[in-house]
Symmetry: D2
Subunit: 304 residues, 4 copies
């Protein structure tokens, strides 16, 4: 067993010593104002040991990381019926995101790109009684932590600037792959993405995916096969057009968000979360990726 605390501290020092910290997302003011000197990392082993360094208790906007949790909830609710409406293939480069949806007749390439996540949001809106509250409670339950919440300002800012998401949702609607009104689905989607959590909370929330589907409180959330499949999707699709690069460099299923967070996991071993708000040119956390690359190189812990 590696000395995780020492390794995490080294990664933190490396991050502190790196001058190029990437570029903070600037399309909404709430993200633009985050200090890019923040850096947190938190790891939890399957045996229940916790390790945290730096800003691992500061909450941040989880953004696209929420897509994995929304997918898990949708799988809990309707199971394999999801795959009638969304595929499981990597999406390739993003220059043609709507193009892809158009050519492929409204079936999103996977549930972790925006178009696919909007279909998942539509499923949740259809199948939850109080969609926003119920989804928030799902995450609180995964975590055993009732302080987790939406950031209403972030949700509102996404709403008034998210024209590309409106374009996507309307295109899905034109292909009859959206059952609820566009505004309802996107209201849910923007709230889902606005949830704020810290590294430790994310590590705990994702525990069930490293633990055959059973969450921290031992409740069965997914079958073992379902957990395995979500991990496969995370690996092949979790980093947009850098999914191959992340698999190649890091070798773990991992999901990033534009708020600077990354959650990665090794089944039956650990979950690890990094937070560094500066992004690389592809929109993934620059120092988070570097830290995870070093982590798997040093520990020799990867799925490959």
């Amino acid at each position: 067993m590696p000395d995780f605390q020492a390794i995490l501290e080294n990664l933190y020092q490396d991050a502190m010593n790196t001058s190029d910290k990437g570029t903070v997302a600037s399309y909404i003011p709430e993200l633009a104002h985050v200090d890019k000197n923040n850096f947190g990392i938190h790891l939890r082993t399957s045996a229940g040991k916790d390790y945290g360094v730096g800003d691992y208790k500061k909450p941040f906007s989880i953004q696209s990381i929420s897509k994995v949790l929304a997918l898990s909830k949708a799988m809990e609710l309707i199971g394999e019926d999801i795959w009638k409406r969304v595929d499981v293939e990597p999406s390739g480069h993003p220059f043609n995101q709507l193009a892809l949806l158009e050519i492929e007749n409204g079936i999103p390439r996977n549930p972790l790109i925006n178009s696919g996540a909007i279909v998942i949001a539509d499923i949740l809106v259809s199948n939850l009684e109080n969609p926003k509250e119920d989804f928030l409670n799902y995450i609180r339950d995964l975590n055993g932590d009732d302080t987790i919440n939406f950031n209403i300002d972030v949700a509102h800012s996404e709403k008034v600037t998210g024209f590309k998401n409106y374009a996507t949702a309307n295109l899905l609607k034109s292909f009859e792959n959206l059952n609820n009104p566009v505004d309802d689905v996107l209201d849910f989607y923007f709230h889902q993405c606005s949830i704020e959590m810290n590294c430790e909370q994310l590590t705990k929330a994702f525990f069930f995916l490293s633990n055959k589907g059973n969450c921290l409180s031992n409740k069965i959330r997914l079958t073992k096969t379902q957990a395995k499949r979500i991990n496969a999707i995370i690996l092949t699709c979790g980093f947009y057009d850098e999914a191959g690069e992340f698999a190649f460099e890091v070798g773990l299923p991992g999901k990033s968000g534009v708020g600077g967070g990354i959650v990665a996991l090794l089944p039956d071993n650990f979950v690890v979360t990094t937070w560094s708000p500066g992004l690389n040119i592809k929109g993934n956390s620059l120092l988070g990726m570097k830290a995870l690359e070093k982590f798997t190189t040093e520990t020799k812990l990867s799925i490959f």
Copy 2:
């Protein structure tokens, strides 16, 4: 000078005798219920002679034909500034309509495809005091006919089913190529397309494009160069992905609408309008195209 009345009557007989009349557009009930046995044709020479056969006095939904008139009005209002926001190139095949817009950073390929027409609608919304009323009056003036009107039911039906147009407008907005709110622009756009006119009215309305920019009442609407340029755009872009085919077979600038109308013109010679509601597989009036092809073959009147 050919015997236009005899030729038009022959074309009408040919159409009556053709069993395959194409398929009436069915995406909104108001268009779906039109009888596809309607066939009208009307021609007016530069010298002012009128010829009409069949249902040339029955009004129909002009739909995309309105895009030429909207473009003309926009050119009257802001001149060459239009071309900062929309290009003048043919669009090619439609399987990738949004794709194209995405790859080309929100600059529509030309003002006669939907994305370009929505930009033109945005220009009119910005530059007309009462956009809908003023545009309707523009068409009434071109024609000297105050009975022309919107079909509110058609406009409403487009609104509740036009998800692809909402997708397009939101994508334009995401590229900052729409100055007004999406709903305002599309409200105008759906009304513009819902205008009802008959063959004779359309022939008269388009007269200024065959007459160096001067309309029926002799009012100067466009400069000679502007009229020439709009005719060039009509020729290269007026039939979606069948623009080349129409130029090849017919050899006139022409614009079709999904309501089954086609207006074509030979500068300094004539304007001709056909109406036959059945469409071919590309969405252009099947018998209208055939009639115009025979017309130019028999009369040897074309721009080439």
Copy 3:
């Protein structure tokens, strides 16, 4: 009737006074070494009057202009069967030239883009006894001038650097839209493009397209309808992704070549050829386009 000689002289002076002469094609040494200060223009009316200014008697590489003549010859040989193997629609932007061919199952968009011209070359190789000699003789005949010839060095340079054309021909072959061996077809194609002519010779060679299909010696080359259709294709497809722009600015069917030549024509009126080796960013002669734009603006002679 405008004073063509005076107008042409003005255009020549304008060209001489323009400092930005564009960029000479540099992908083969034979083109790269041409002096970009050359400027020639030649016009011939249907009535047989000739007007020439500047370097209108200096031969240059006609390159893609040859595609129109190859198409005309193919139409003479096999008529409408051409359209089973190539379409007549504008191609749109060139960033996806092979893409287009791939998506559209090996049917080139039109006979004036490279893929389409290679199919036409294949037709000529199949239907001419001695393809290269016969095609050269066809052009000599159109012109009544036996001095016209291939530039063997140019043909050879194209051959050793033309990997994209080899890619295209092999892709056509994979779709079974090439009947002869790739090497045979491209050998013909590279020779066809290497032909050298001057402005006056090109004007004369294209005369039949402005004259209902009858060439200078009054021999019938094409039917009136065939000539009209080729003119339609030239207009919609003759300038690659600037076809719309050329129609919009100039308003004549016109074909450019990377050697700096442009031939344009007004049916029943005139043929005009410009030569200026510097190209704009889209690969069309910069000063040639400007001269033709001024020409149609001043003379008010256009098809629109």
Copy 4:
């Protein structure tokens, strides 16, 4: 430890009892004539235990499976310099294979699609003294088996029908991403793909990738990190546009070939090879995929 022999025998029985065996590749006669009732499966654990059922000793054409071995050899020869010429991202759908290469300026998406494999072939041609012999010896060495050989007839058939590969290689050449002549590179490539091996031989050849880079004879072929990276590429890119599906259903890095073979592996655990010549609609072995899916479901052995 599961009872591998029993499990493999069950998989064999399932395959025998399945009536839909897919479609044998028919583009060359040598593949078209293979009997689709063949089914072999062979597994070897890291501890050195062997299990084989059915036709696991019958040789078949390894085709694209060779791409992994070519990549491994190239990595041995020039290391990370490979990534200057080819990327590591999944390619998405194949309808636009050349398109992708064109848009991305001649840099193939990954080394396991044809365009990328042709670049790897070019690297081997440049860096091996006797490319074909040396590469064959590399595979023989991995295996400790000198009977492995090319099938010259297969290589020849690929050569005379492989127009799409010629198109690809010429397109690469046009982007200057091919250093050797197209014919030399493709001659090597077609031979590489024509190699014949049986399930047992493939299992043994791939052993080093499951064993931190050390092959059967304990020779170090790659570093541990290099082996891990190749496994990551196999997982994200090994099944063309079904890579996500294979990760999702099977959960192992795996590579298929059009000859009906699939090799998959769990690092530090086992390598398993299936052979069933009938392909599904995406070109991957139908019964091979099903067998591997059942295998990982029953044994619970996967990377996720």
